[in-house]
Structure formats: C-alpha cells, structure tokens
C-alpha cells in the first residue's frame, strides 16, 4: 500500500514557475506542487488548457501566462515579465518541449528548430531570466526535464536525444554558476512516462519498436506523478546539497 512521503506544507509560501503546465508531466507537477502548498505561475502555449489546469489546482494565488518558449530571448523576456508581475521565484520546473520521430536523413532546419526551440533555447532563456538579480531567491531550486534519451540513442530520435543532452550539459554549468547563491539546478532524465506525448509516440512506431521500447522499461512505464515526486523532492528543503545532477528517474531504462 502506497504511503505519502511529503508533508502537505512542504512548499507552503514558495513561489514556483512551471512551464509546459497545460498537459502531461508539467500538469502533473503543477498538481503535485500545488497540493504541497506552492503558489504557482503556470506557463504554456495553450491558454484554454492552461486555465483548465489552473482551475483544477488546490490552493490559491496561481496565475497563468501564455508564452511560447521557442527562443532564448523571447523566453527570457517573458519570464522577466512574470517576475515583475508576480515577484521572485523560489523554484522553477521547466518541462516545455517537443519530441520528434524522424531519421537523420530527413532532418531539416525546421525540424531541428522545432525540437531545440522550447526544449533547449527556451530552457536557456528561462535560466537566464531566473539568474538575474531579483528573479529567484537565494537558496532556490531549478529543475529541468531531460530524458534517458540524453544517454541512450535510438533510431529516428537524434534531434530529441541531442536536445536532451544539450539541456543536461547546460544544467551542469548553471549549477556551478548559481552555487554562490545556493541555487540548485538539476535535470530529471525520465524514460517513457504515460502522457499524451508518449501515446503519440507509441502510435507512430511499429510492433517491433514497441516490443523493444517495452523491454527498455524493466519497471514498466512511469506515471506522471512519479516524475512529480522527484520534482517536489528537488524543489524542497530536503535537497539543498544536490546540484548539477542529471537524475535518472526511469525504471532502469538508462541502467540497461
């Protein structure tokens, strides 16, 4: 029988940014963080879905912001605007980004731009904004979504794999830069989590690839809340000394 681990007021009084909040892992994280007391500023592209998520959240004082995080500069400006409006952040969870199944021989500029846009450049812009004076309180914590794909290659996923590896490297450097202010920066390398994006991917691959994918997940596919638990841990006061890490939360997918 599953036992709750975290105190309900784990993030009480903490202001947290959640991007990609309208669905999947971002949405699950928003729900979990709000359930543990956080006041959220939610970012995504789709205003209706964002508003629906906000309406469903426990707690109060959450806001929604329609932002396209495709470029570093536009992302940085948007986040700076949210800080002006809502005050400094104590935490941030960056989970915007797209996946793309396409062999290298078909990958063009526009595909690379799409996958690197929100997944990498938006992350850079967000961390840039958060590292400016007054944007994030000392002792804060930033978590960026990455993937086991950063380490383990798969056919037709080169753009996605490269984007995730890029983000992991950025996280390591950001951790070193922000350490003097005791701000931690970590990434989560998840494997397949049961979200709409996952179902899209599964629908696009054949039976052999499906079997192979199943086999890469000895503990089965994850649930969004599994990732949300790790986000909560890393944003909480239980992890002040953890920084610059790329956490494997993947049911052994990367251990293989």
């Amino acid at each position: 029988m599953s036992q709750a681990a975290f105190a309900p007021d784990t993030l009480a009084g903490r202001h947290v940014l959640v991007t990609g909040a309208s669905s999947g892992i971002g949405q699950a994280a928003a729900e979990h963080l709000a359930a543990h007391g956080a006041r959220l500023s939610l970012v995504a592209r789709n205003p209706e879905r964002l508003e629906a998520v906000r309406a469903s959240l426990p707690g109060e004082g959450h806001s929604v912001h329609q932002v396209d995080l495709e470029g570093a500069d536009s992302a940085a400006d948007a986040i700076a605007g949210i800080v002006k409006e809502r005050g400094a952040f104590d935490g941030a969870f960056y989970s915007a980004g797209a996946t793309l199944v396409l062999p290298i021989r078909l990958l063009k500029d526009k595909h690379l731009d799409e996958v690197f846009g929100a997944g990498v450049y938006g992350a850079f812009g967000t961390v840039r904004a958060l590292s400016k004076k007054g944007a994030m309180n000392d002792g804060g914590s930033i978590v960026v979504m990455s993937s086991a794909a950063a380490l383990r290659g798969r056919p037709a996923l080169a753009a996605y794999c490269a984007a995730k590896a890029a983000v992991d490297a950025m996280v390591r450097c950001a951790a070193l830069e922000l350490a003097p202010r005791k701000i931690r920066v970590n990434s989560l390398r998840a494997a397949a989590v049961e979200t709409p994006l996952h179902h899209e991917y599964m629908a696009s691959i054949g039976p052999e690839a499906t079997r192979d994918y199943d086999e890469r997940h000895p503990l089965g596919y994850g649930r969004p809340v599994d990732v949300a638990q790790a986000v909560l841990f890393l944003l909480s006061d239980a992890s002040p000394w953890i920084s610059g890490t790329n956490w494997a939360i993947d049911g052994a997918a990367a251990a293989k």
Binding site: D138, A238, P240, W241, G244, T245, W247, G251
Partner: protein, 267 residues
C-alpha cells in the same frame, strides 16, 4: 575558515519535508550503523516510522545508535561484514523477524592510500564490507522472505567511483564496483518491483571526515573544498536522499546513481 562556506541568507528558513509517518511499519536493515552516515540515516529513518535492524562491527557503538532511535521495536544484528557469504548469513538471520522493506548499506571505510603501498591486504580491507558486503546483501535480498516485493535497496557509493583522486585507487575501485552492482541488480530484481539505487556522495562532515582532515595536508583539504561548489555536506543530506529512495515517492526510480555531492560531479 576551512570546511565551511559563508552562509548565504535564505529568504525562507528550511522546514521538515518528510512526513513523520512516511515509513510507518516499514522494516529496514541498516549497515554501518555504529557511526557516521549509517547512524545518521538510521536515526532519520526511525523518526519517520521505520522499524530497524542495525548492523555494525562495534557492538557498544551500535547500542548507542539504538539509544538514539525514535520509536521502539528496533533490534541489533552486530557483526563484521567480512565477505559476501558472512554478510548474507547476517541479513538472512535478521530477516527471520520478518521480511525487510528496505536495506541501506553504508558499511565500509574511507582510506587514502597511494597505489605504491596498496597490497592485497589493503584491497581486502577496502572491498570487504563495502563491496563484498553489498554482494552478500544482493544475494540475501534476492529472496522474497528477506526483502519483500516492492522493496528498496540503497547502496552508499562515492564520487570517487567516477572521479579520480590521487591516493584513492582502492577506494575508487570499491565505490565504482558498487555502482556497477547497483545497475545489474536493478535489472535482476525489477520483475519483483524491487528497486536498487546508489547514493554517490562526496565529502560529508562526519567523524571519518574529521580524522581524514586531521591527517591530511592543508592543500589537499583546500583543493577538495574547491571542488564542492556548495561546500562540504552534512549527514542530513544523505538522510533525506535515503528517505526519498526508501519511500514510495521513488517508486519508479531504479538502477540510478543519485549524486548527493554539493555540485562536485557537475564540474
């Protein structure tokens, strides 16, 4: 002052994160519990509701640890983890009181020893408790009667397992061995939903650390501190990571090397 960094003022004061009952009714086996990290983790787990069996070499110090635990129903299983077979016997015997839900393996010691004077005897000393002990735990825990389905194993490892440091060839090998074991055992026990993870720690301020500092050259200490962007750690850093990994909050984490190292391995 060496060993500390100027505290940066936090806007919010830290607060307890884990519920007092998050490990209620869970039986856990803790090695290396006579001192240092093993002791600190045992105390923390007991405060979160776990019932413990403590293992360590020093029976008197083990009893001291027991005295520090919250709650009751804890037991001692003293004994040196001299090799895999002796360890498996200790763990199996301890499980006669009921299958464990979690195992935390912190037995072993840190020693700076140039390769030039590292002989078989020193290698045995370094590998016995931390590596062969881990294998003994792996064997025992493969049985459902010793570690229940859905259980969690946490092996202590070190950044030395992945980052070279002069004087640490034996220690590095031992700690790297634990990481390899962790990944393979995670694969093997996944069908029973048993999770196996390793905590990769850097310098934590324990007695073992103080002894090292006393004997070390000043520039070794300064160099080591410089590799820790967030300073040296406190045992509590390990308590919280261990609690997370032993609790249901990490149900999908297995085969992972969790770096709890103040940013050491980022650079």
């Amino acid at each position: 002052m060496l060993g500390s960094r100027a505290a940066v003022e936090r806007t919010h004061s830290p607060r307890p994160v884990f519920r007092d009952d998050c490990l209620d009714g869970r039986r856990m086996f803790v090695t290396g519990a006579s001192s240092g990290i093993g002791r600190a983790v045992a105390v923390a787990l007991s405060r979160r509701g776990a019932r413990l069996v403590l293992n360590g070499r020093d029976e008197a110090r083990l009893a001291e640890t027991q005295g520090l635990l919250a709650g009751d129903g804890h037991a001692l299983a003293p004994g040196a983890l001299t090799d895999a077979d002796a360890t498996a016997v200790i763990v199996k015997d301890a499980a006669k009181g009921g299958a464990f839900d979690g195992i935390f393996h912190a037995a072993g010691f840190f020693q700076v020893l140039p390769a030039k004077i590292t002989k078989q005897a020193q290698l045995d000393g370094t590998f016995n408790a931390s590596v062969f002990g881990a294998y003994g735990i792996a064997r025992a825990a493969s049985a459902k009667a010793v570690l229940a389905n859905g259980g969690s194993i946490v092996f202590m490892s070190s950044i030395a397992g992945e980052h070279g440091s002069a004087g640490l060839t034996a220690y590095a090998g031992a700690k790297a061995a634990v990481l390899g074991l962790t990944r393979a055992l995670a694969m093997e026990l996944a069908p029973r939903l048993v999770r196996v993870n390793a905590i990769m720690a850097s310098t934590i301020e324990t007695e073992m650390h103080e002894r090292t500092m006393e004997n070390a050259q000043m520039d070794y200490v300064a160099m080591n501190l410089a590799r820790h962007p967030l300073g040296f750690g406190k045992p509590q850093a390990i308590d919280d990571a261990a609690t997370f990994l032993l609790s249901d909050a990490s149900a999908w984490m297995t085969g992972a090397t969790v770096a709890v190292d103040g940013g050491y391995s980022a650079g």
